[in-house]
Amino acid sequence: MSPDRLFQRLQELLGKEAVAGPAEAAGFVVGGCSPAVGAVSPASVEEVCAAVRFCSEHALKVIPLGGATMAERCSAPCGYDVALSTRRLDRVTDYQRENLVFAAQSGVTGAQTVALLTPGGQMLALDPPSFPEATLGGMVAARASGPSRAGYGAPRDLVLGLKVVDARGELVSAGGKVMKNAAGYDLCRLYTGSLGTLGVIVETVFRLHPAPEASRAFVGMFGSWEDADRAVARMQTAPLVPRAVELLNREAARMYCPDGHAEHAVYLLAAFDGTEEQLACQQRTFESILQETGARGSAELDFAWNGERHRSLCDLERTPEGGTLLILSGLPSDIPVLVSHVEEVCAEAGCRPVILAGAVTGTVRAVCPGVAAGIRERAAAALRGRVSGVRGVSLRVFAREPLPHEMVWATPVPGIDVMRRIKDQLDPDRVFAPGRFPGGL
């Protein structure tokens, strides 16, 4: 069947308004390429099932898409036919305020969630970049988290249940709406972070948190990463319960603190939630640690949940147009050595990266402004070589333009053979997001 004919059939199936052709599908460009047949925006779970069944029957490749705020955090698709947008799946299906449980379809955005939960004094404790525009389904599929993961956990810790349309176009439910669930395999964990390669997540049930009474962040300035790391190590044994602990290099601090706090090498930001009494007490503890570890200065920031200060920190790690985002993950104590590798490799490539490091999670994010393509490849290869000796470290390389999977998933992926067998079982015909995943899955 020709692409035109397939396009028509999809329109017959879902209605004209729900299907856009390749020419109008500008909003549905994934990994630098538009869908060959078109973009569909089903308005119900049943329509998603119908659309996937149709695509499966006609051997069309499908990429599920939410707010596309993290669409580049995958490898390039090896061609695809249909973008399946969840934007019209925008219903909140259940909100049990008294049980701190919230269920919504995938197209509901972060901003909509905030508007709904804030009046009731509750929050969904996720803060990835572009949170207001990001969709709930997209955040779960991309395992998207932000600085507050240190205090509240990753998406996988907040998902209680979800519904997925599988490669056969059938609806599969996993988990439930209760706090604990040991019935059967925890497929929520499998689908969370699966980057659309196993199915279309259509609905998610989240665990909520009470909104904190107050939030504040304190910043300590250090002359070196080693000094800052000593302060982080001291924090581990102190009576502190931080929401986020982030290390920023000078470039990151310049973007983040336009009020002049940017002459030092490293900025240690610790954010806390609680009552005023708890914040004051933690501030005192944190400042005494700064003194003991030779900090060169300190500052205080308003860090209200979803406030400007909070959001702009999260957004620092957005992938810049024409630039590169490097994400390294390892032991928190390896942060200084990982950062030094990044800085050296970037210096060789002639770029000054913005570096953020999660001191609790051990995740280093380096945002590198425009680098010529050839240089990027050499730099990525050099970095891969440098970190390959550190056990457990993973390196991922992302850019707005499509990068091959060998480059994106730069370090060996433990368990890739098992992952391939899972993909073979759940999506044997490779309907979903081909090429987007490690190993080219």
Binding site: E98, V178, M179, N181, A183, H209, P210, Q278, T363, D417
Partner: protein, 489 residues
């Protein structure tokens, strides 16, 4: 309880395995580490769920991941089914031997391999006892948060298999929230090695999928877990209520007020009687329910939070709220809770613990319904459970020598499970499906849901040798188990 056919017909004193195979197993682990006599195998007929039993053909006790791999390769080569076993404290029959199969016991693998205080990680073999982890790091102000009641016996490997919880998981999460990496011997003997250094291994979340898979996807031999700082201060109180419904309404109100205690446990009158007889803590024998409420965290603000909780308790008619004065009193209170199920032996010769989860707001209504079900079947039910999570543990008291009672217990359990599902809940919160809950899986999962799980299982164990007949209904060996359970009554 009656034994399964194959156990009853087991020949004299010899293993059901042929001599050559026993010798091969012995060549891997040493002859002293293969249990093959009837007496030795008898011990392994059941785990903590004693309503289903099957004697293993042999029990092998490997001492290393490599030995587990060799045993599994051998089993795989000849199509011999196998199941891993930790301390055997599981409560759903998950560690019962598959028909004609062997048990691979991991209790010799009990070394703590690495403690990384700076990064708050600990790596240990699967047979390490849960409590040993917290004990190993307590001096450094850290602990391992999942604390099932059996924590002085149960193993880390078993905890991963069941995604074990405990009273403090209300605030700190269950096993899966604390597991960073693992080594698992796949059903073909290959090794899956997910490093625990990074929280962000790219690709699918395999440790997350494996946790709670009840030993059906492979044999976890080593884990890297997250260590959690001990709180600066703890506030523990015993709240005494005249009625169960006052206590459960109080629980719902605490959660609805946005307070997440470290633990929030309920014990009813039956449990209070048994516990008091055993430990003489001074629990009020005329109360219908007590709550153990624990708050922890920073010293700053904790007493204010305690006052808020006290206010909520008072608005639900609390008769007395006793705050533990010191660590000794707190430990004694927790011992009452953790040994509660064990002390029930004073009330009846046998008991069977249920494990369902419901929305917390439904606690008053469902507890009343469970009381009604107990009356309907003429059985006595004791309740001791993780109220803050909505994780119920109705414990049916009975005499297992009376077949008619056993029949009523099974029917009563079924009614309880159905009541919880109807209230928007699930069939198990922390004990797993094992063989006990197989028949209830279709209550909460559609055919498509179960088919997806079957496919996941096939990705790991296409030949169905690794703990077959557990977790998923309709799998190999499943019909046999249902028959087995029916034969028991």
């Amino acid at each position: 309880m009656l034994q399964s056919a194959d156990a009853r017909t087991a020949p004299g004193d010899a293993s059901d395995l042929d001599v050559a195979l026993t010798r091969e197993l012995a060549s891997i682990v040493g002859p002293e580490n293969v249990s093959s006599t009837t007496a030795e195998r008898l011990v392994y007929e059941a785990d903590g769920f004693t309503m289903a039993r099957r004697r293993p053909a042999a029990v092998v006790h490997p001492a290393s991941t490599e030995e587990v791999q060799k045993v599994v390769r051998l089993a795989s080569a000849i199509g011999l089914p196998f199941v891993a076993r930790g301390a055997g404290t599981g409560l759903s029959g998950g560690a019962m031997a598959p028909p004609g199969g062997i048990i691979i016991s991991l209790t010799r693998m009990r070394r703590i391999l690495d403690i990384d205080l700076r990064n708050r990680r600990l790596t240990a073999e699967a047979g390490v006892v849960n409590l040993k982890v917290s004990q190993a790091v307590a001096g450094h102000g850290l602990h391992y948060a999942p604390d099932p009641s059996s924590q002085s016996a149960c193993t880390l490997g078993g905890n991963v298999a069941e995604n074990a919880g405990g009273p403090h998981t209300l605030k700190y999460g269950v096993t899966v929230n604390h597991l960073l990496g693992l080594k698992m011997v796949l059903p073909d003997g290959e090794l899956l090695d997910i490093p625990g250094e990074t929280e962000d291994n790219p690709g699918y979340d395999l440790p997350g999928l494996i946790t709670g898979s009840e030993g059906t996807l492979g044999i976890v031999t080593e884990v890297t877990v997250r260590l959690t700082p001990l709180p600066q201060k703890t506030w523990t109180a015993l709240a005494v209520f005249e009625t169960i419904s006052d206590a459960t309404r109080c629980v719902s109100s605490v959660i609805a007020a946005g307070i997440i205690p470290a633990a929030l446990e309920l014990m009813d009158a039956n449990v209070i009687q048994a516990v008091e007889a055993a430990f003489h803590f001074g629990l009020p024998l005329d109360a219908q329910a007590v709550l153990i409420i624990e708050l922890d965290g920073l010293e700053a603000g904790l007493d204010e939070l305690g006052a808020r909780v006290r206010g909520i308790c008072e608005s639900h008619g609390v008769r007395e709220l006793r705050v533990a004065r010191d660590e000794t009193e707190r430990t004694a209170l927790w011992m009452c809770r953790k040994k509660a199920v064990g002390s029930l032996g004073r009330l009846a010769p046998s008991h069977c613990t249920q494990d369902c989860v419901i929305p917390r707001s439904a606690l008053p209504e469902v507890l009343e319904r469970i009381g009604g079900i107990a009356r309907q079947f003429g059985l006595r039910i004791a309740n001791v459970f993780h109220a803050g999570d909505g994780n119920l543990h109705p414990i049916v008291l009975y005499d297992d020598r009376d077949r008619e009672q056993v029949r009523r217990v099974l029917a009563c359990n079924g009614e309880i499970v159905r009541a919880c599902v109807e209230a928007g809940g699930t069939i198990t919160g922390e004990h797993g499906v094992g063989v006990e809950k197989l028949e209830f899986m279709p209550l909460i999962f559609s055919e498509a849901d179960l088919a997806a799980m079957d496919r996941v299982r096939a990705a790991f164990d296409p030949r169905g040798l690794c703990n077959p007949g557990k977790v998923l209904p309709g799998g190999p060996g499943c019909a046999d188990l249902v028959l087995n359970k029916k034969a028991a009554i």
